[in-house]
Symmetry: C2
Subunit: 280 residues, 2 copies
């Protein structure tokens, strides 16, 4: 997907919500457990109930891999089901891959390519530790994106990402600063955790124009408003993700309707922020 | 596998060779292309020809994922085929995973667990960027190992891994120093690239007892001898990997026999080094 198409979708839907399809078979409502492919059936109903409110879906590959070959099949069906929304839904393989060049090429084939076995996602999350040649292969397909881990929202983020370097930066700042030259704001985004909203200011001085993928925002409005205050740019520049807060809003027959309600709650805050910023 | 079992296997086989099963369907000899599962058939013949010379096999998951569901099935068959050597062969999923805690738990299920969908590898390679809670879940199963990326052998290693920190260390040194407290030398190893043999001296001062997984050693003896000089400890403490140099030694009918020849060449150098160090 082109950047301009993503921005158009955000303006049309008045939302920059990404829904994380981290589908755990044990958390799927009872009445779906006997369907042929419970994970796909769950995803399908979540997508049906939310596709006009979300601009992106982000299945985390771990949840599918842990189901073996069946899980891989559920993921394939899910991404093919999303094909019908190709013009308005941005799809992200939350795979956190990254390996030496010839191996990252293989992951590119697996997740971004179409033929013969590729999932054809719009984007893949990539870990930066192995450097340029581990990231660049993912940038080789037109209109496909790398979303590089910069500052994650977990406790372990403080082990290495915030290490102070001799150059005065924290590691994540240098990761962004160096890696931004490998692509452009038209094929790279960055994962930046919402638990540290004040750090967005610093990030925006390094990459004013890139989209940021923000995990860790719950149904609570508070931190979402902070993310917008410090992270939003004139084109929005944000995809804010919610996974469990939406897809497990209810564990019963009404799970899809409840997911929609939660998604709408977040969307209303997003709409307000987009209006405030004069983007819509 | 327990550390003592691995060391016993090294002593018995007089080798610390790990063979990378980075099997590319396009490089499989012509006569295998029409078999039911060419990738598995290739791996099986490589294993049959080398299992008495190698102490470990390391399929890189990217090569299997890029073949979609079929690839996942080939990987499953390969690891099940290796079950017959459970007491003498250490198996490594070269997956370079790592995600927030509940997600790394899923990858643990996928690669290290046995039931119901797990591959049951002995070890998985993990990227350190997301810190402690992204790594610890992999250490939750007895006698299963994390092999953490420290200093990789690719060009991009110099982008971030060798960044100088305010504390005087390079990043990879701090990665090792902090992460070594998350487990022990009985369930953690480190990937340390062979292109920088002199750096092993520094690494050995931080982790004298851990095993190191060393990629990037070719059939040329030179660098392997350097790796031993600087990296070997009194229990050996090394797994040295070769992938393409062995599995693609020939692209014809004799590929398995030629793979064995290459493996034996490396093994003879390893045997000499083990003798020199008084380990055998």
């Amino acid at each position: 997907m082109q950047k301009s198409t993503l921005i158009k979708s955000i303006k049309n839907k008045r939302s920059f919500l990404c829904i994380g399809l981290d589908t755990d078979p044990e958390k799927i409502p009872h009445h779906l457990q006997n369907s042929e492919d419970p994970v796909f059936e769950f995803n399908k109903q979540i997508i049906d109930a939310t596709h006009d409110v979300a601009v992106a879906y982000k299945p985390n590959t771990a949840f599918y891999e842990s189901q073996g070959i069946e899980g891989w099949a559920s993921l394939k069906k899910t991404i093919r089901y999303l094909d019908q929304f190709k013009d308005s839904i941005f799809t992200i393989a939350d795979a956190k891959r990254g390996d030496i060049g010839n191996t990252s090429e293989r992951y590119t084939k697996a997740f971004l390519a179409t033929q013969p076995h590729g999932f054809d996602f719009d984007a893949i999350t990539v870990a930066p530790y192995m450097g340029s040649d581990s990231v660049k292969p993912f940038l080789s397909i037109k209109d496909k994106w790398v979303i590089l881990l910069a500052l994650t929202s977990n406790e372990g983020a403080f082990d290495f990402q915030t290490q102070k370097l001799e150059n005065g930066n924290q590691l994540f700042e240098t990761v962004i600063d160096i890696s931004k030259t490998w692509g452009s704001d038209k094929n790279m985004m960055y994962v930046t955790g919402a638990t540290k909203a004040e750090m967005f200011t610093r990030i925006r001085t390094i990459i004013p124009n890139h989209f940021l993928l923000v995990p860790g925002v719950g149904a609570q409005g508070g931190s979402l408003e902070d993310v917008c205050k410090y992270g939003m740019n004139k084109e929005c520049g944000l995809l804010v993700n919610s996974s469990r807060g939406i897809i497990y809003a209810s564990r019963h027959d009404d799970f899809a309707a409840e997911a929609r309600k939660k998604a709408l709650e977040i969307k209303h805050i997003m709409e307000k922020e987009l209006l405030r910023a004069g983007i819509i």
